[in-house]
């Protein structure tokens, strides 16, 4: 386990994904910089959590990493291979190793197909398989995600949200992937069902040695499931750290605000928590602020923040922050603590 800990499975260097917007005549008008120069390395066997407000580009980053979207620039390395320029058939084995679970279990499953056909589709994507063997495999997959083999002949509408999510997971697992992008897999589920799905994902990880990229906005669940966490703001990573370190010792002003906004399910703690309430809304992704994207909402912002883009720097071992004022902020805080 320890050896595996630092083996890098998926790595992105200076990754960008811009979506062009067009005017009425189809001319390119502007670009939405959904992912803007991200450096990220995901280790084998870990769960990397990605958090941020809606529109910060966390899902786009995930989908660009698994080559669902074409990156605009930068590079993606999977198991040491540069897969950035790969196209068509060459990508098929990559897609088999990197799968995705979607947020909305209601629209992710084809209503015209029964469960058997849904899983069959992905099982036979790389080549045919004898029927007898296939049914056995589907049964095994369904059992693995805690469903009955009989469910094979039912249609998606016959299942509840949690069960549909299980089918989605069984489908993703059918090609025996190494990497699973969980794109808000529990946001659409009820609280009592969320725990079922999260526990199952953890069990599957232990059994099969899976690596997860867990995208979510439920911050307490992300802390629970993740080994390391990255915080995104308007297309950039602002802080990366081990999950407990990030929650106990957040450094970036945005992370602090985001974490203090989590509703705590404990009245006594909630009453004494001092919320750092951010003023204003997330700026539009079409018109992002210059320099540090966060400077418009940051109480520590200096003039320099408007001009230069801060780099993601390692402040303490494994804890990366992108803020040019970070030294000042940390000093300031230790001073107020002493007083």
């Amino acid at each position: 386990m320890d050896q595996n800990n630092h083996e890098i499975l998926l790595e992105a260097k200076n990754l960008c994904k811009y979506f062009p917007t067009k005017d009425f005549f189809g001319r390119k008008k502007a670009e939405v910089k959904a992912v803007d120069g991200i450096h990220l390395a995901i280790r084998k066997g870990e769960t990397f959590g990605l958090v941020g407000e809606s529109g910060c580009g966390k899902s786009t980053l995930g989908r660009t990493l698994i080559r669902m979207y074409e990156p605009t620039s930068g590079s993606i390395h999977f198991k040491g291979q540069d897969i950035t320029g790969w196209k068509g058939k060459k990508l098929l084995p990559i897609h088999k190793q990197m799968q995705i679970i979607f947020q909305d279990p209601y629209s992710a499953l084809d209503p015209h197909l029964n469960v058997r056909e849904i899983i069959k589709e992905s099982l036979t994507a790389g080549g045919s398989m004898p029927v007898s063997e296939m049914d056995g495999r589907i049964e095994e997959l369904l059992k693995r995600v805690g469903m009955k083999p009989d469910d094979m002949h039912k249609y998606a509408y016959e299942f509840s949200g949690g069960q549909r999510q299980r089918i989605g997971i069984a489908r993703a697992l059918s090609v025996e992937p190494e990497f699973l992008l969980c794109d808000e897999p529990i946001s659409a589920l009820d609280v009592s069902i969320q725990a079922q799905v999260v526990n199952m994902l953890e069990e599957l990880q232990e059994e099969m040695g899976l690596t997860y990229l867990f995208v979510a906005h439920d911050l307490s669940m992300v802390r629970h499931i993740s080994t390391r966490i990255g915080v995104m703001y308007l297309g950039r990573l602002v802080e990366v750290a081990d999950s407990d370190e990030l929650y106990e010792n957040p450094l970036h002003p945005y992370t602090k605000a985001l974490l203090s906004a989590i509703p705590v399910a404990d009245p006594k703690i909630a009453r004494i928590t001092n919320r750092v309430v951010l003023t204003g809304d997330l700026p539009s992704a079409m018109d992002v602020p210059s320099g540090c994207h966060f400077h418009t909402r940051c109480k520590y912002a200096e003039n320099g923040c408007k001009e230069s883009v801060p780099e993601l720097r390692e402040i303490s071992p494994g804890h990366y922050v992108s803020c040019s004022c970070i030294q000042g902020i940390m000093q300031n805080e230790s001073n107020t603590l002493e007083k």
């Binding site: 407000e53 809606s54 509840s160 949690g162 069960q163 009820d190 609280v191 009592s192 069902i193 969320q194 725990a195 079922q196 999260v198 526990n199 953890e202 906005h217 911050l219 307490s220 669940m221 802390r223 629970h224 999950s243 407990d244 929650y247 106990e248 605000a257 985001l258 203090s260 906004a261 989590i262 509703p263 705590v264 399910a265 404990d266 009245p267 006594k268 703690i269 909630a270 009453r271 928590t273 919320r275 309430v277 951010l278 809304d281 997330l282």
Partner: protein, 338 residues
């Protein structure tokens, strides 16, 4: 205890049943619920989807579609019985004395009208103001909910507002008539955490300033913890447990409440321990189980749980739980299991 509280109650309901009739089937969404809202309190109604929490409030407000049948022994707002009112009388109370804020701020506003139009309309209708007064008052309420440069904002359309701003505008609309009771149905579910924090702070502030009562309908126990005074936990169309916020969080009596609290990760622990999940799923209300709706998923369930809906056990002046077993019996059973 019940009788005493009712004297201070802003809203009280007894034995509410709501049944939807569709395609020859009937779905019993609310199956006999009694509760009250006290003066100047924030009451949270917590439940998963399909537990009947929204339907309950809408039934009392007379906002149900024609295929829904609402039967209740009593639905009283202050001194008035709501169920015997004509639609016209009800409409006067809704919006003026009881205001509502819904989950989705986009669909609750008319996209063809300015924010100002929405506010002025309410003020003219319920407070009989003329155009100029209404305009002035509208600016005031927008300021109160924390919208900057309200004069400019009044002229804008809903699509020019962000999600959080729209929710603020809706709260402003609700506040226009200085209601006695505000019903907020999942007011922050569609919003990001940072914006959610802003809206919750705002709700708390205006509740204290205006001295109104608030019913907060939500599925998120985290939202409730910092805000509410009392909590009703709903499941399968029934209130499973009712109590003060601290009673529910620190001394839950019903197995469902206990299980629900254990299913959410504790923020301070940070451990990678498995969450205690609740097996199975919520019962279908088209054919609800004859007994306790939670029995099927409850680890303490016995044969007797399926024989009729259990009576409430009263634990304190404020806390009651719908379970045939007492708290001591449950703890004893828990030890046995271990």
């Amino acid at each position: 205890m019940e009788e005493n509280n009712k004297n201070h109650a802003v809203l009280s309901a007894r034995n509410v049943h709501t049944t939807f009739h569709t395609h020859g089937r009937s779905v019993q969404a609310v199956r006999g619920v009694s509760f009250h809202v006290e003066h100047k309190e924030i009451l949270a109604v917590v439940g998963e989807s399909g537990s009947g929490k929204s339907v309950l409030m809408k039934s009392i407000m007379g906002l149900m579609p024609d295929n829904a049948e609402v039967v209740a022994d009593e639905t009283r707002f202050q001194e008035q019985e709501l169920s015997i009112m004509t639609p016209e009388q009800l409409r006067k109370i809704r919006g003026k004395e009881i205001a509502m804020v819904f989950q989705d701020p986009m669909t609750a506003l008319n996209p063809l009208r300015t924010i100002g139009y929405h506010l002025v309309e309410v003020l003219k209708r319920h407070r009989k103001m003329n155009g100029k007064e209404a305009q002035k008052e509208a600016i005031e309420v927008l300021k109160q909910v924390g919208i900057s440069s309200p004069e400019k904002r009044l002229m804008q359309y809903p699509h020019e507002f962000s999600g959080g701003m729209r929710q603020r505008a809706l709260i402003a609309m609700a506040l226009c008539c200085k209601p006695k009771l505000l019903i907020a149905d999942e007011p922050t579910t569609a919003l990001d955490v940072t914006i959610q924090a802003q809206i919750l702070e705002l709700l708390k502030k205006i509740q204290e300033e205006n001295g109104m009562s608030v019913v907060l309908i939500t599925h998120d126990l985290g939202v409730v913890a910092s805000l509410s005074h009392r909590i009703c936990v709903m499941y399968g169309g029934l209130i499973m447990e009712e109590g003060l916020t601290d009673e529910i969080f620190y001394a839950p009596k019903h197995p469902y409440t206990k299980a629900l609290l254990r299913a959410i990760p504790r923020p301070q622990s940070g451990s990678r321990e498995r969450l205690e999940s609740i097996p199975g799923m919520a019962p279908s209300l088209a054919s609800p189980p004859p007994g306790c709706p939670f029995a099927e998923r409850c680890k303490f369930a016995r044969e007797t749980c399926n024989e009729g809906i259990p009576q409430y056990r009263v634990y304190s002046d404020t806390q009651r739980a719908m379970c045939i077993f007492s708290d001591e019996e449950l703890s004893a059973m828990e030890k046995e299991v271990q």
